[in-house]
């Protein structure tokens, strides 16, 4: 095994938590049962790495095989890297009919046309997602498997999720993706986060929605708010309304675990009590970042408990509505408040 392979293996063993290592190695399948039995998983990671290296040498495994192992681990645990979402626009005629084999061929073919020094591995995951792992090389130098780019695409949807892409390779990859999915353009969806499952669910709208109804509480058991006997009678109706509007804006049940949202505000300062600032022409520049372990649930709770006023402000409800978490708000854009 050469140095890059050893380095990649060492880094991978450090990264994979001890309890998952055994299962991941099994799924990998490059070591036979006898070799796997001989590994002692209760020792320190350093000693384990040495043993694994020896076994891989025995089986004459190369860096490509180790890259496979990394891909298996990341596919099972995608919530540890920073993902950015992109949206494909203007589909051509055959776009909806692109299925796996065709996509694979188109992707590899277009990639070869544009870039020479790149290694690609495409795999289909159980939940209909196509995973692509790419290792780039600088000019004519050897491929670097250490900083691989991962791409996830759900066929027949216009969304692509990318992680680990350098600015240099970005235009290339985006062009290849556009061509191989038979679309005209691709744009940044302004949505990013660590949890792939969360941003995927948000974009594909895979969570429980609440639709506006004229008669908000057909089932009285549904609208149980926190009960405080003294205020319940007075506040019941207002509380039910807040719950309904919060649900409409964000959804019911468990929401996708988005973790942050950033707003860059460049709007004018308008305050009737402060004439000096209101008369100024320049915008009041500030950046607001909301963060939480589950941002959408926090916002929904704020709306239903009254911390946020209802109906929910358009800036906040655009997060699930438009499926993005990075906004630049100026006075001219339609989503700015008054």
């Amino acid at each position: 095994m050469d140095d890059p392979a050893k380095f990649l293996l060492r880094r991978l063993v450090r990264r994979i938590p001890a309890q998952m290592l055994k299962a991941t190695l099994e799924k990998w399948g490059r070591l036979n049962a006898e070799q796997r039995e001989s590994l002692n998983f209760s020792q320190s990671k350093w000693a384990l790495t040495q043993e694994l290296e020896a076994l891989c040498e025995e089986s004459r495994l190369t860096v490509k095989h180790i890259a496979e192992l990394e891909m298996i681990y990341i596919t099972e645990n995608p919530n540890q890297m920073m993902w950015h979402a992109f949206q494909l626009l203007d589909p051509e005629d055959g776009a909806l009919a692109v299925e796996l084999m065709q996509f694979k061929e188109l992707f590899k073919c277009h990639l070869r046309e544009l870039v020479r020094n790149v290694s690609v591995k495409i795999k289909k995951h159980t939940d209909e997602a196509v995973w692509i792992r790419m290792s780039w090389g600088e000019g004519f130098s050897r491929l670097s498997h250490l900083n691989a780019t991962y791409v996830v695409h759900y066929l027949q949807t216009p969304y692509v999720f990318v992680s680990g892409l350098s600015p240099k390779n970005k235009p290339l990859l985006l062009q290849v993706l556009t061509l191989s999915t038979k679309h005209e353009r691709i744009k940044d969806a302004n949505l990013s986060g660590r949890k792939l499952t969360a941003i995927r669910d948000l974009l594909l709208r895979q969570y429980e929605h609440v639709f506006p109804t004229k008669y908000p509480s057909p089932l009285t058991e549904r609208n149980q708010s926190v009960s405080n006997l003294h205020t319940e009678k007075e506040q019941a109706e207002a509380s039910a309304k807040r719950h309904q509007m919060a649900g409409q804006a964000f959804g019911n049940g468990v929401l996708p675990a988005l973790q942050s949202a950033v707003y860059k505000l460049e709007t004018k300062f308008k305050d009737p009590t402060n004439q000096t600032m209101t008369e100024q022409d320049e915008p009041f520049r500030c950046v607001v970042k909301f963060s939480s372990t589950n941002l959408l649930e926090s916002l929904r709770h704020c709306a239903s408990s009254g911390i946020a006023s209802t109906p929910v402000a358009p800036l906040l409800s655009s997060i699930p509505l438009k499926g993005r978490n990075y906004f630049v708000i100026t006075d001219k854009s339609p989503s700015a408040n008054s």
């Binding site: 009041f284 520049r285 963060s291 926090s298 402000a313 800036l315 408040n337």
Partner: protein, 359 residues
């Protein structure tokens, strides 16, 4: 500047007075000087001293002449954990060497007993040095700041390897309340502000040694919401002379799960808002800053936020304020990034410490 330095380093001797007289004169002075009190969260004990409702804008001071650069480098750009200390009994600035020896012995003894100071091997040697940090005292009544450093050499290092500082702390009093300082009985030195940085185990050892040697009491100096708002306003005011780069405030709203909001305002726009608030009060640049102006400033910021998001930030707590000049966290952690405002920030913190002292 003809002040004889020797008299400042000795502990100030105040006139003898009984406790009753002190309390009476205290109350009279508070009423005449400070006006309407602003309501604060916790004002424990019997101090009737209230937080200043107005203060002068801090001017940048070039203190590199007064304080040595090594000392300055020690103090700035580090985050200190703050506590308040009650006055120390029989503390002499001239006996620092002997105190340092006693403290080393104490730390070694505690380690032998097995009390937790985990610094890699059991054979670490600790060396304590205590020195006077000359130049920070503002008035004649302020006792000089004392710097304590604990250095250690790992067990298997060679003898000539340099000692590494593993813990540092200081006791300070800047612009202390003169009435209080004069009213202290003889033998008491008031250094109410204690800052520490480094291993938590060493902090507790140093505190317990100080407690048992000088009969004092330590308590956490939580920087409360009002002080954080003052700091936000004062730092914005400083933007006229020194670039603060941005005004960043961090709030936590009580949602389930808790929602954190980081609200960063462009420094020029924050200053414009501050100026508009001051102008509306009819105050000129040199006059004192009143608490109403601070409140209006914060209200302007939160109402701008509300207009966009419909979320009322006052439903939550302000946890942290930071600018290029420093940062302050509500749990009593403070970082001063610019030596020009060191004295004024320490004066503000000394005032907070005085408020919390229970006697």
């Amino acid at each position: 500047m003809d002040k004889s330095r020797t008299s400042v380093t000795s502990t100030p001797i105040s006139s003898v007075s009984t406790r009753r007289i002190r309390r009476r004169s205290f109350r009279q002075s508070t009423r005449s000087h400070f006006g309407v009190a602003s309501r604060l969260g916790l004002t424990p004990g019997q101090t009737t001293h209230r937080f200043n409702t107005s203060r002068k804008a801090p001017k940048p001071q070039n203190i590199t002449e007064k304080v040595s650069p090594e000392h300055l480098a020690l103090l700035v750009k580090t985050e200190w954990h703050l506590c308040y200390v009650t006055p120390l009994y029989r503390f002499r600035h001239t006996q620092l060497k002997s105190y340092a020896r006693q403290l080393s012995a104490f730390i070694a003894a505690e380690k032998q007993q097995g009390l937790g100071v985990e610094v890699g091997g059991l054979q670490d040697t600790f060396k304590v040095s205590m020195s006077v940090l000359q130049g920070l005292a503002e008035t004649n009544d302020d006792p000089e700041t004392v710097l304590i450093q604990v250095q250690s050499r790992p067990a298997f290092a060679r003898q000539d390897e340099p000692l590494k500082t593993v813990w540092s702390g200081w006791l300070s009093c800047i612009n202390g309340n003169p009435e209080y300082l004069h009213s202290l009985p003889k033998d008491f030195t008031c250094l109410p502000l204690f800052g520490s940085r480094g291993l938590e185990g060493l902090s507790s050892l140093v505190k317990s040694w100080l407690r048992s040697t000088f009969d004092c009491f330590f308590g956490p100096l939580d920087i409360n919401q009002t002080t954080l708002r003052w700091l936000a306003a004062l730092w914005t005011n400083c933007h006229m002379e020194s670039n603060i780069q941005h005004l960043k405030m961090q709030w936590t709203l009580p949602a389930a799960p808790p929602l954190h909001v980081a609200y960063t305002v462009n420094s020029g726009d924050a200053l414009a808002l501050w100026r508009s608030v001051r102008k509306s009060r009819g105050a000129d640049e040199e006059a004192c800053i009143e608490i109403e102006e601070v409140t209006s400033f914060m209200e302007g910021l939160t109402s701008h936020f509300y207009r966009h998001f419909g979320v009322d930030l006052s439903a939550g707590d302000l946890n942290q304020v930071s600018t290029a000049l420093g940062s302050a966290k509500v749990k009593g952690r403070m970082k001063i990034s610019s030596s020009r405002y060191l004295i004024s920030t320490l004066s503000l913190l000394t005032e907070c410490a005085f408020l919390k002292i229970p006697i």
